[in-house]
Amino acid sequence: MKKLLLISTITVALFTGCAMKNQNAPISSTDVAAAIASAQTKYNLAHEEMVAWGKTKSLIVKAKKLAATDPKKALALANEAAYQADTALAQSAEFEKTWRAAVPQ
């Protein structure tokens, strides 16, 4: 039992160590710019289809603002925005097939 605990502790330590390393790795400004650009394109698509989520646009605006000062946060925001736009589009495609069933007949 004790051994198991020890092993698991080591594993956890190892994992967190790895994660820490990744987090500490410097984020290049080109990565941030690319993430923001990709989020923007995806958002534009969702916006044109009129299915964009409420917060997506402001996430991108925030990411742009933070790109120089806090690249880590900017990257996270851009990724979040891209995820939201992607999900919105996927949802829209899904609901496109089903909404007619809800119309009272």
């Binding site: 989520w53 409420g54 997506t56 949802q91 609901f95 909404w99 007619r100 119309v103 009272p104 007949q105």
Partner: protein, 302 residues
């Protein structure tokens, strides 16, 4: 001979277009009838139909707090048409309705001359017109809302257009709505493009959206007559009769589009802009669904 042929073609063309005019709204009329039937059946006897429509509402509440049966006209009061506690509270509030102050402002604005000496009454000699809005203008190939009509009147007379959705515009619209009280909503679908706009509005109404992935339909058709916590969900039927509406939450008047935009936002979607294409289409569809209902705006809501 040629003349005669032309005449025949012309006549047949006109005849054809009349024939088409009848058929442009065929689908919409079918939808509308099913829509009305759904609501009438739902509220015919909530206690008896509990299993089908209100499985999570207690019998006591159905018996004591629900108004039933509701006639077709009865749906014109939104959530107040079925939920007694709300109806009582607003009956009390409407003893001296909060909308009377902005309505008085609206009367004043309506009669105040523009810089060129004319006034709104030159554009709207008959103010009892709200039942026809929003209408589809086949020449412009666009939906014309009452707010647009007001602003076009201003621009024509050299005035700056007003901000849509609230404020002075809503006040002027409130006056027109007040003068149109008792008129029956009469929305037509005059062309193929109008039918397309109707279909687009219908899709906006029934298709889930936003991060909550809910549709207008889920709350205001399927769940109309239930509550979200303390909030009584209004039936979509008759949802446009009492606009513009004074909402206590806003502390002022707002137009149909302002209300709809707020609702779309609540699904977790981007808030659509006033007079944007989707909002107008949604308003067009929703108002068509209430065809034949009497107007009773402006009114007060939470």
């Amino acid at each position: 001979m040629l003349k005669k042929l032309m005449k025949i073609t012309l006549i047949s063309m006109i005849g054809g277009s009349i024939l088409f005019a009848g058929s442009f709204n065929a689908q919409a009329e079918k939808d509308r009838k099913a829509f009305v039937k759904y609501f009438e059946k739902k509220f015919e006897n909530p206690v008896k139909n509990q299993a089908e429509y209100f499985p999570y509402v207690t019998k006591a509440e159905l018996q004591n707090k629900y108004i039933s049966p509701i006639s077709f006209q009865g749906f014109q009061d939104g959530p107040l048409s079925w939920y007694k506690p709300s109806k009582e509270q607003f009956a009390e509030i409407n003893e001296f309705a909060p909308y009377e102050i902005p309505l008085d402002d609206g009367i004043e604005l309506f009669n105040k001359p523009f810089a060129n000496g004319k006034s709104y009454s030159n554009c709207f000699p008959d103010q009892s017109i709200k039942q026809n809005f929003p209408y589809y203008d086949t020449k412009r190939d666009d939906i014309v809302t009452i707010g647009m009509a007001v602003n076009e009147c201003r621009v024509k007379n050299g005035e700056k257009p007003l901000k849509y959705g609230k404020g002075d515009l809503a006040k002027v619209v409130a006056y027109i709505a007040f003068k149109s009280r008792g008129q029956k909503i009469n929305i037509t679908i005059p062309s193929e493009n109008a039918a397309k706009a109707y279909e687009a509005g219908k899709k906006l109404f029934y298709k889930q959206r936003g991060y909550l992935a809910i549709s207008c339909n889920e709350c205001h058709v399927q769940s109309a007559g239930k509550r979200i916590r303390a909030e009584a969900l209004s039936p979509a039927l008759g949802g446009t009769t009492h606009m513009p509406v004074y909402r206590v939450k806003w502390g002022g008047l707002g137009t149909l589009q302002r209300r709809l935009a707020g609702c779309v936002k609540d699904t977790g979607s981007e808030k659509p802009k006033m007079q944007s294409k989707p909002l107008k289409e949604l308003a067009y569809f929703l108002t068509y669904m209430s065809n034949g209902m009497k107007l009773n705006g402006p009114d007060t809501r939470k």
